[in-house]
Amino acid sequence: MRCERFADIVELLQLSTDREALRAFGMKYEEACKNPRKLLLLWYETQRKKYSLRWGETLGRALYRFSLALYASAFLFGFLAAMGLLYYNGKEPVNVIYFLFAAFVLPTVSLLLSLAATFKATKTHNPFLHIGLSYVIERLWFRRYAETLKPLLKKEKRLLDWAVLTRTHTAALAFASGMLTGLLVTVATRDIAFVWSTTLDIDPHTFTSWLQTFAAPWHVWWPQAVPDATLIEQSRYFRLGGRIDGKLIAHAQSLGAWWKFLAATILFYTMLPRLVAALATRYYISRLMWRSLLRLAREHLAAMCTPVIKTEVRQTQEVRTFDMQNACTTSEKQTDYDTLVVVGLNETQGALYKEREGIDAKRVLYVGGARSRAQDDETLQEVKGVTAVIVKGWEPPTFELLDTLRAIASKATRTFIIPVGLEEDGFAPDAHDLAVWEKMISTLKDDTLCLIG
């Protein structure tokens, strides 16, 4: 996984969010639901052409220029460092120990710092990275792309750190390459006298065994690059006297053999570890990028692999509106009526409510319930005078019941509708139910009808 592709996929995640489209894709590649990486890549490959993605291109351009500048600078610096380390002014020969320090110790320390930074790559604050020159350059370099890359970096704050980490090893490799090139060019074009010189009390024999141990990685396939005891004996240098002594001059030709050792040192202790570190870091960072991507794409992947459940409705909802005029409502209860009509209740219930309402009527009629319409029509012929109608207050009036009320009103001089309640409500109707009755009765538009509530 490269930074540019990472950026593209993150941008695509922002742009393509339609759940149904994602699910349609997931259904096409249902098998890939078991392998999120494969599914995400498939999705990216099929979808990217639909959108003009900018982030990957912008990041790629920025990283390309940054990398080029960094590698070129590192190579040049390594080359110049080699030239500087191998500078021979004719008076004092080149101390291989000094060169070894620059070609082995410093790069090894730098490598350890880089590895420490790599191990901290999961953190947003990486002190091992932030003290590096490449990090500082990166912060200044990427400022011009800040506007375009801001949304990307908001999604993954560590992205530039990862880009720098992968390039740090390559930059160090470029530095070592420059150093090796510098060494080879210098050796080929100038006459360098290599010696070893130190204040420490080390006899040549001991130094030989150290160096041979040091040269263990290449002593099998490049034995010429392993300094032997003779060479070491011949190239010991003491500054006392201030000039090159006769012994060194006598063996001038063989002293040049040190260059192979130095070249092998750069190859095996600077370049090779950096190459391995670079590959390992790329692999590790790629894994971190995948982890980050899978986290960012979690919802998309779930949308692809989870059925979309939704409801659709075919027809538009048509609601009935009621033409409700002001209904007649009164709380004053009469007690004497010419007729009492009980709707939908049996005789026992009718008698109970009649008594509770204190109604006295000359005739009591029962309609509704399981009775037929023909029976009701016949019964309603007896309605006359002022009529009270007991109805179930808890049941909203149907059009059929309104038909009955209309029939009653046509025969009575005045009709009073009395909605009653259930026992648990104290036999009184609910205020809400009363309001419904009031509205429904008003649709009859009959002034002789009045609700008692």
């Binding site: 110049l80 932030h130 500082v136 989870t306 009935r320 179930k392 049941e395």
Partner: protein
């Protein structure tokens, strides 16, 4: 049932105001189904299809209530008597003969799905009101339809007449279930759906598939809810607000202004999360009430004045200065071929750092092309209060659990402030440990991906247990 056994269709029928539309709203999880207290509001039938990946799983038809059941039954009997046809055929003939008759408009609408789409029947009654003989005409009409059918006793009010209803309904329906669409939770919806499968055994495998889809979708939404909660907590807790200030030290007015901006941002983030949750659970029309807003909670904020030059902080510039100095010194070391023992690099680093530090303010106040090279900023946040992430999580978790458990037939205002004891319900055991690790990482501004994932998983399990989802 429809000859298309793979797409069960049920017409929801009954007396006016018995909760038919509420049942449809609850089962189809739509809060836009019109539920009106006025009887006869629904004028036409309306088909709601439940789809999974574009494939119709189930159809529910909301119908108007019976308005003239006795009269219609008399018509049916007359047709049967006069034309010598079966009961079912009499229904069909009634439908075709009177389909444009305004008097029977409601009955025609409720019979339309039965006659035209061979829908099954779900007859809905109110178990909080007593059974009455006037309902027999309705049940008789439905029996004449000869479709797979079931009865649902919905308890709208506080009365209890369920037993009487059950006895009356069992004469007409093989399956009688109680169900309150307003208070029902997921398990109740699923039980009702499964009952529909028992109305016709050919439907059972199909209905079980529907139930499976429901569960999967529900779990998916719970996971998304847990993710929304943890991400919002992360955003709110780690939120920083900053503004440019005139000088190195911020005034009280500037501090107050920034604090107000901060609280607004926090409020907006929480609000956005809640809107996302509402959309997720399809409760966009729900009316909610909260006693306290998040930004009214007392919390400890960290504020800091800082300065930058060319976009780099003092610390970063110091490092750059040190490294630049070291590089220059190292060059000098190389020139002297090691005789300086790398003292050049060391001295260069120290000199570079001191120089950068000392000159910072001078350079910051310099103007380059009319603009100051540097700037002073006041920052507020992130919140260091240990209790705050728990407050945010609790509020959002409660909100999500309420939305997840609320039926779409619910139309009243909902109180969304968690009770005092809600914290004990969700904060225990591994949830406490994992979420504390996550909150600590947020407070310390450290990487929190793994801890966030664990906390999110725990919150998902908490939601499952609060909502009592059985596997």
């Amino acid at each position: 049932m429809s000859d298309r056994i793979d797409t069960p269709t049920f017409a929801v029928v009954g007396h006016p105001n018995k909760g038919k539309s509420s049942i449809v709203a609850a089962l189809t999880r739509r809060d836009d189904v019109v539920v009106s207290p006025m009887p006869g509001t629904t004028r036409t039938h309306r088909t709601y299809t439940l789809e999974a990946d574009g494939k119709t799983l189930l159809r529910l038809v909301d119908t108007p209530g019976f308005q003239r059941a006795r009269e219609v039954l008399e018509r049916l009997e007359a047709i049967r008597r006069n034309e010598g046809v079966s009961r079912q055929e009499a229904v069909v003939r009634f439908y075709r003969t009177f389909r444009h008759e305004a008097r029977y408009a409601d009955e025609i609408e409720l019979l339309a799905p039965v006659v035209e789409e061979e829908a099954g029947i779900m007859y809905v009654v109110d178990g909080s009101k007593p059974y009455g003989e006037e309902f027999e005409a309705e049940m008789e009409i439905l029996r004449w339809c000869a479709r797979p059918s079931m009865a649902v006793i919905n308890r709208i009010g506080k009365g209890d007449y369920v037993d009487a209803w059950r006895e009356a309904l069992s004469s007409y329906f093989n399956i009688v279930r109680t169900y309150n669409p307003v208070t029902a939770r997921l398990q109740d919806h699923l039980r009702l759906l499964e009952s529909m499968g028992h109305a016709d055994e050919r439907l059972l495998p199909v209905i079980r598939n529907v139930v499976r889809y429901f569960r999967e979708d529900y779990r998916h939404k719970l996971r998304q809810s847990a993710r929304i909660v943890t991400e919002t907590v992360a955003h709110i807790v780690s939120h920083r607000e900053s503004m440019r200030i005139a000088s190195q030290k911020a005034t009280e007015k500037e501090k107050a202004e920034l604090l107000e901006r901060y609280k607004q941002s926090v409020r907006k983030m929480e609000q956005k999360a809640k809107e996302t949750l509402r959309t997720l659970w399809n409760h966009t029309h729900l009316s909610v009430r909260e006693r306290t807003a998040l930004s009214q909670e007392p919390f400890d904020l960290f504020s800091e004045e800082s300065a930058t030059l060319f976009g780099l902080s003092k610390r970063e510039l110091l490092m750059a200065g040190a490294i630049g100095g070291a590089a220059t010194g190292a060059g000098i070391d190389l020139l002297f071929v090691g005789h300086t023992l790398f003292a050049g690099g060391a001295i260069g680093a120290i000199a570079g750092a001191i120089g950068t530090y000392a000159a910072f303010d001078t350079f910051a106040n310099m103007k380059i092309m009319g603009r100051k090279a540097g700037e002073y900023r006041l920052s507020i946040g992130p919140i260091k209060d240990r209790n705050f992430p728990y407050v945010v999580t609790g509020r959002l978790l409660f909100f999500a659990s309420q939305l997840a458990s609320l039926s779409h037939a619910y139309r009243d205002e909902v109180e969304m402030t968690p009770a005092e004891d809600f914290k004990e319900r969700w904060l225990s055991g591994s949830t406490k440990r994992d979420c504390e690790a996550f909150f600590k990482a947020l407070r310390d501004e450290k990487e929190n991906e793994e801890s966030m994932r664990r906390c999110e998983e725990d919150l998902y399990l908490v939601l499952e247990s609060i909502l009592d989802i059985t596997r």
